[in-house]
Amino acid sequence: MQKFDVVIVGGGVVGCAIARELSRYKIKVALVEKEVELGTGTSKANTGLIHSGVNVDSSTIKGRLSLEANPIFDRLTSQLNIPFKRNGSLVVAQSREDRQALLHSLEEAKANGIREVKWLEREELIQKEPAINPDALGAIYAPSGGIICPFEFTLALGQNAHSNGVEFFLGTQVQKLLVEKGRVAGVETDKGIIWSSFVVNAAGELADEIGYEIKNEGITIKSRRGQYLVYDREYPVRVNHTLFPRPTQVSKGIIVTPTVHGNLMVGPNAEEVPGKNALETTEAGIKEVIEGARKLVPKIDTSAVIRMFSGLRAVADSDFIISPAQKTGGLVLAVGIQSPGLTAAPKIGELVTELLGDMGLELNAKTDFQEERLSLKNLGEMNWDGRASLVEKDGDYGQVICRCEGITRGEIRDAILSPLGAVTIDGIKRRTRAASGRCQSGFCGPRLVELLQEFAGISPLEASLRGAGTQILKYRSKELLLKAGEEIADL
């Protein structure tokens, strides 16, 4: 196998952001991801927030990087052609104690240079966010807080890196880090060895399981689970801003927010869980989320829930760990990226690049780096005339497959055929929103299975939610009967 300058382990938002940043330079970069799609771990199951930076400690790495990253999102998302909205965040005081503490946080936020951050008294708050609990005692308002789709963000970073020359090895699991004379030489995967001068560990919650004991570095990854509920877009209870309670020691608390696609979302709680497979939702967890959300918006109930999910935050320390490994040369760690990792990701990419430069990687900028990522067509954003002329040229955009979200055959075809295209139902869903609406694939599921066959050559019995083991269908009709018949015949 060919030799790379840098191998990035992990295709989440951090790995993809690092890949995009490195793709600016004349070096050979590979990204290895164990799943067949990008962004399937923590990056797919989080709140999708671009944090304003209120209540972050600017002396920490995570605080500094997220403060630096927030202002660049307008430009970055327009380059990547993904939706982003600065809907503003409100950190709501629910008691006198909260109010005291938040007024203090406001001063810190101002000192940290957060744009236009200010205090809203109760009346102003209610005017701004009518659904808010009327018992609220004011809030910190930060107009720079924003919302983004975390899957599209991760994918767009990955696709942009790909079109700038980064090689992606998807469905490839790193089993072992190859170390020669105290220095990395590459990674051994289930598909063979990938040689490389430098390795970046961006494996998220599995960062301590890639065959290299980062425990040697004194690091262990703990999983902290958060559960969420997503509501129907027609749910009448809605908010304009992202509402936070006063944060606790461990988390930013249970948040009520619109998503960038217009659904109401609430969560997460924060639970220490033993295993990295503890991805279930629980009655107690969902109850906790609903109760937390109701403190901010009392009208929230469960009448229009379309999806419950849980995500694991990979926690190593109270801060991110972004540094060269101490005991192995050529290895950079980008681990323990908990909240606000989504916000900080572009800056993590820059920091890791800088560290690699310091470690001796030669960084000569390309002259032909393409900042713009060509986006897929989004018919939902077009007017009827624009849509009509598009369908005239390409009939596939006329055939609606997902009726809940109005997604067409053309959009799904593009999602499958574009670089790093979808190979699973979840992959289609995250790229196009097909199957993410209120029927949750009840109607379009069979169509998506067909389209995976038509455009990706995946047979219906191999079509899966998210890769091997999650195939949707088990047998052909009559297969069980024929088997039973053969068994009887054998008697």
Binding site: V391, Q399, Y475, R476
Partner: protein, 422 residues
Amino acid sequence: MRTYDVDVIVIGAGPAGLGAAIKARENGARKVLVLERDFEPGGILNQCIHNGFGLQYFSEELTGPEYAGRFIRKASRAGVEIQTDTMVLEVKPSRQVITSSKRYGLQEFKAKSVVLAMGCRERTRDAIQIYGTRPAGIFTAGTAQRFTNIEGFLPGGKVVVLGSGDIGLIMARRMKLEGCEVQGVFELLPYTNGLSRNVVQCLNDFSIPLYLQKTITQVHGRDRLEGVTALKVDKKQNLLPGTEEFVQCDTLLLSVGLIPENELSRKTGVEIAPLTGGPRVNQDRMANIPGIFACGNVVQVHDLADDVTVESEIAGIAAARFQNGDIPKKEQKIEAGKGLRYVVPQKVDLSCSRETPLIFFMRAELPRREVKIIISQERQEKLAYPLPFIKPGEIIKITVPPEKIKELQPGLNIQVEVRGGG
């Protein structure tokens, strides 16, 4: 975008849409166009390959595709035009309908009347909050039915069904007939939600266990479903902790309720009745917007396709007549009283002369025997209909013939309620 003028646009080519279109055509509408999003007309009947259709309407027993086939042929003979693979994107209150299709691109139809016949969709796992992992193997019963009967694939081999609605019962039998192990049908309530005949023909005849007052709260398995947690509930549907039991399966089919698909109607401004989830309609099945009619499962979830046909014919005739200005004007409320969850239609104009009977559809709140359905005005009993039994799983249909309608006084609200029984 091309624009066309039509008399009646019908949205949906299931039994409701086809029935309405045929009747509209037979009653004077010249150009009747049915818009269907699927690749063939027939709606959900195409995947209902079991029998039991048409017993009331045709007095013979048909399968779903046969029942649909009769209407498809009849529509074609009547000169009804059907455009398949066509999705309606918007219905304006002024009755302009915008559609999208691969073959015809975007089109705009200006219709004199519009009939909404989009049917219903199934409630999902998340809507009823079944906790746990997110493995493959969890389907709504209707989706599993489509995979099995139309696409030719089985969702799994070891099946648990949650919910004893008709689709759940039918699919329990269907899976068994395909050679699957069917572990049982679980029902939260103390009685089944499906038709009695389906309990007998689908479960009893195939020795499939029915577990009443038992529900499923959690699913297990990381990649593929490995089992579910079943739990007993008390009479008030409270979970009884300590009764948890693990039931092994690779497939969970959900038959936990149908919801009229009124996303389009809502955007148009059609008023939706909260208890049916469908448009609030009058005896002609006209909604609050003049010229916009609705019928079938989009109005209320029916149990029988035959009833859908009956309702669609009312809407179809009225949609054709609307063009002549023959519409109810002074509408009075029809209220569901004691023992009933809802009554359809929700309003009526009794001064509007009709040679057709007035048909009330209603849902009982609880099962009861030996009851009377009482229709009254200003607390005065006007009409009484004795019934041997009622149950929530079987829609009650009361047909008031024209000569009896005269006993009701125009200008007064109507109350319908259940009396007597036990």
